[in-house]
């Protein structure tokens, strides 16, 4: 199946929007699953979009761009992976095998976009000194351009040049690599999970991690059911500790009172 010009335009626009979305309203940006879903709608195959997006989503759970760190751009990966999965007809594992290297390469362009905006920062600095508020505001908003293009241009190039190149890659790919990538697609979510566990105070709450694991692996409780148990445990935790906060405050007060009494006696 060939990709149409309209589909290329829509996917390029999606790529421009998804990074702006990520920086502003955060409705689909940041989340490969939601980008994959929309890419799937554009390509006319929602199922593959969901599968590609969902797999990538699990790899980046809890991975954020905090403090300006660049992370693998699996949003772009989801767009390109979904598009080529549909045009090549090679399915999910092929798409993931493509999306992951694309996401890793895109890190460089994220760095470039963040660097480009330093140029506008300097222009802002300059216009502040001459008190030109209009020019200050304008140059701040120009930041949109490097951000948007850093995603839209690579996607446009990959989609227009892609078909031929991708076909060559597929034919040349050896068996050990395709098989290995298939295994990689299965176990890559461990990276996202491990990063998340590193970020959270896992040691403090490890009991709940074990409860969740037990429910899913031994009792085969579906994810929503596990979440319900989690919500219940969260409520119990909140209630119990809220009481101790209130109690603690009261105790402090009464202790202060006692201290005062003591003082009076000693006087």
């Amino acid at each position: 199946m060939h990709i149409t010009i309209l589909q290329i335009i829509l996917l390029t626009a999606l790529s421009f929007w998804m990074i702006i979305d990520q920086l502003t309203v955060v409705v689909i940006g940041n989340f490969p699953l939601l980008v994959g879903l929309i890419a799937g709608v554009i390509m006319g195959d929602v199922k593959i979009g969901l599968a590609v997006g969902g797999t990538l989503q699990l790899m980046v759970l809890g991975v954020g761009t905090y403090g300006g760190a660049s992370i693998p751009d699996f949003l772009t990966g989801a767009v390109v992976g979904t598009a080529f999965a549909v045009t090549s007809g090679k399915g999910l594992n092929f798409a993931i095998g493509l999306a992951v290297p694309v996401g890793l390469l895109m890190v460089q362009l994220d760095v470039l976009a963040r660097f480009s905006n330093t140029y506008f920062q300097h222009r802002v600095d300059k216009y502040i000194n001459v008190n030109d508020t209009k020019a200050v505001e304008r140059n701040i908003l120009y930041g949109t351009i490097p951000w948007g293009l850093s995603r839209a241009l690579p996607v446009l190039i990959m989609l227009t040049l892609g078909n031929g190149i991708v076909n060559v890659i597929i034919k040349r790919m050896p068996e050990w690599l395709t098989g290995g990538l298939q295994v990689a697609g299965g176990i890559l979510p461990v990276v996202g999970i491990a990063i998340l566990l590193r970020y959270l105070p896992t040691a403090k709450f490890v009991a709940y991690l074990i409860i969740g694991f037990f429910l899913a692996s031994y009792l085969k409780v579906p994810m929503l059911g596990v979440a319900l148990v989690g919500v219940a445990l969260g409520f119990i935790y909140y209630e119990n500790h809220n009481k101790t906060i209130v109690k603690g405050a009261n105790q402090e007060e009464s202790q202060e009172g006692e201290d005062l009494d003591d003082g009076e006696y000693e006087d």
Partner: protein, 267 residues
């Protein structure tokens, strides 16, 4: 305290500030001053109302200093800032600069944990799990939740504006408790995620005469989901070492998958 300025921020202006923060906080993000331009752009209408000429320039320079926080709740700082500035004017310059740098870190911590990690983990896990089974409902609900969160961001500015610095000290203990309860829920879900989304089958079969031992069956008897747990533990441990980044771990896991597939340990 002598109130020299009669200028007061109107509700309409608060809406304008909210809109500006939503769309510009990170739009000119750069390595040099990160979100400084976003903050400056957001408060510009207030600056123009309160200050003229040299004062305006001085305050623009102050607001153009390094700033980085969580965009979901950073407007709480802005709310406090404008409440102080409209009362004290240029005299508040140092106090506001201190307030901004003092609060951006703690707010980034709480906001990134809740909006950047916990909510995406819970919704991402459940909807990716459904997506891999071809069901888009989870993804659609997640998107709607994200739209809802956009509207929840609006009252936070007003809260900062009316309550000022009081809330930070007063609610901090409950806020921590709430964050802890949310983390606990997140970890329960992550625990369930490990055996359900990491697919690692061991095809190895041991044959000796009439004895046929399937390694996977033996592993399952020890603990279902043992391989995923071991892999998560391995990556978790490696991430704790110096100079190990998430990008390096993704490459490591891909190479590991190819090697283990070639050795017929995973498949």
């Amino acid at each position: 305290m002598a109130n020299t300025k009669t200028n007061q921020v109107t509700t309409k202006q608060l809406h304008q500030i909210n809109r500006r923060w939503l769309w510009s906080s990170q739009i000119c993000w750069n390595y040099e001053k990160m979100m400084a331009t976003g903050y400056l752009y957001t408060v510009m209408p207030v600056l123009k109302m309160l200050y003229k000429d040299d004062e305006l320039r001085e305050m623009m320079i102050m607001h153009n200093q390094f700033f980085n926080t969580n965009p979901f709740i950073g407007q709480l700082i802005i709310g406090m800032d404008i409440a102080i500035e409209e009362k004290e004017g240029i005299k508040s310059k140092e106090a506001v600069a201190g307030l901004k740098t003092g609060l951006m870190g703690p707010f980034a911590g709480v906001g990134d944990t809740i909006f950047g990690v916990i909510i995406p983990t819970i919704f991402g896990s459940i909807s990716a799990y459904m997506a891999l089974r071809g069901n888009p409902i989870g993804a659609i609900i997640w998107m709607l939740v994200n739209i809802g969160i956009v509207f929840l961001r609006y009252p936070i500015l007003k809260l900062g504006y009316t309550q000022g610095a009081k809330i930070v000290s007063e609610y901090s203990e409950r806020l921590n408790l709430l964050t802890d309860s949310a983390i606990l829920l997140g970890l329960t879900v992550v625990g369930a995620l490990i055996p359900t989304v990491v697919t690692a089958k061991v095809p190895f079969v041991y044959r000796s005469g009439k004895v046929v031992l399937k390694l996977q069956t033996i592993l399952n008897q020890i603990m279902p989901g043992l391989i995923p747990v071991l892999l998560v533990a391995l990556v978790y441990w490696m991430l704790g070492r110096k100079k190990v980044t998430s990008t390096k771990m993704i490459i490591f896991v891909m190479v590991l998958a190819i090697v283990l597939k070639a050795l017929n340990i995973l498949g």
